[in-house]
Symmetry: C2
């Protein structure tokens, strides 16, 4: 057995149910290969001893992970890991969604959920270096890999310069390809701001997360070769499924 006497403490009276704490820890451990590396979970009794709780509490945690599709339980045989590895999403000067995950997934897909034209908020205007209230195009997109939602992004573009961008994106499902239709053959990631928070109701629905899950939030500005901002985007990643790689080539 691989799992030695790892004490994995849980906190009582914290406002977070023990079964959920355990589910979160197990999901994390499975994602990093610490637990169930051989595809099989230790028996419920062993887990309950490790976490210092009743067997039924562990069962609740397992039930939640089965519901999520992380585990699969078979009566009489055991509990098995259904899906494991975490995707690594690169952030660099040349960050692009599709290319970044190319080697790690069989199937990738981006969906345009909604698009609209709206006046720029001060936050958006500042990022795109526009005057506040100027028209901007907003794109709501969802990216999936191997059938599982990976990220949910909201992007803004200058409406004047990129009129019809949504149509181009709907056709190509690619930001890079869409930019090409506007004469931008190359672009660069100027800055990225990374934070983390609990998933809100919208995140839970869009990314098919379970309550209490964590999202990594990346707020980014892309610029054209002249250094002019062309895209401002806030992307929410499911922290259980993705990690961000920042390569700072000197």
């Amino acid at each position: 057995m691989i799992d030695a006497g790892l004490k994995s403490p849980v906190t009582r009276k914290s406002g977070v149910a023990l079964w959920r704490q355990i589910a979160d820890q197990m999901r994390q451990a499975i994602g990093t290969g610490v637990l169930g590396a051989d595809g099989r979970l230790p028996p419920e009794i062993a887990l309950s001893e490790r976490f210092g709780v009743n067997r039924h509490t562990v069962r609740s945690a397992i039930a939640a992970l089965v519901q999520e599709g992380v585990l699969r339980a078979e009566q009489g045989r055991g509990t098995f890991v259904e899906s494991r590895k975490r995707l690594s999403y690169p952030i660099s000067a040349r960050t692009r969604f599709s290319t970044g995950l190319r080697d790690q997934t069989r199937d990738r897909r981006s969906t345009l959920l909604a698009d609209m034209v709206e006046p720029a908020s001060s936050r958006v205007a500042e990022a795109l270096k526009l005057t506040a209230g100027a028209d901007v195009i907003r794109l709501e997109t969802l990216s999936e890999a191997d059938g599982r939602p990976v990220s949910r992004a909201t992007s803004w573009f200058e409406a004047q310069r990129f009129a019809g961008f949504a149509k181009a994106y709907a056709k190509t499902s690619s930001i890079t390809a869409s930019f090409k239709q506007f004469g931008i053959d190359d672009y660069f990631r100027h800055s990225t701001l990374v934070s983390a928070r609990h998933a809100d109701a919208a995140d839970l629905a869009d990314l098919k997360l379970s309550p209490g899950a964590i999202v990594l939030v990346a707020v980014a500005i892309n610029v054209d070769p002249e250094g002019k901002p062309i895209q401002f985007a806030e992307t929410r990643f499911a922290a259980d499924r993705v990690e961000l790689t920042v390569s700072t080539e000197a």
Copy 2:
């Protein structure tokens, strides 16, 4: 009043108590200035209506945030914001802790919690390009800003090349200064891997977090001017107090 009819939904039967969900949302909203931008919180009744819960549930959430030092309640007057803004921690080719936060805080401090020499795990050996089992120095450090814990790091260095590094660090409280004593006047951030997870028991204690809190985990490799790895580090940031800025200068 600034806070309009923002619906802020909470999820029932999720294994996370409503008061904790609300506390998390409020902490987040306060950190980004969405809530209590004028330093004052809406009355409990108004909050309970916004979140769709009983007043007592909101009171539990407020009590938790008072305990954390985020809020201060005064009978008859109202509830007030005690500390607000989030630090922005830059990640670039020249990432250094002290310089990064210089402009944002009055007081910074790094503490050496522990140091030891141990054989390199496969993970550490791979990062530092050593043979597995080679001796490495491990440093456990805590960084605080304005009296509040900001990050908790575990660093590894090649023991042969950096014998006595812990002593140097204990004296200078600075990685940069310690490297100088070993003839390294400059070094670079090679790569950074960012992920997020729930804080474990150790994080809660070290960073003085409340259960259910989130930590941003940055796993980084620093290299000397020749490109040879000199430091491998895993840093845990309190996600409520810090965000990471990735500047990708082309």
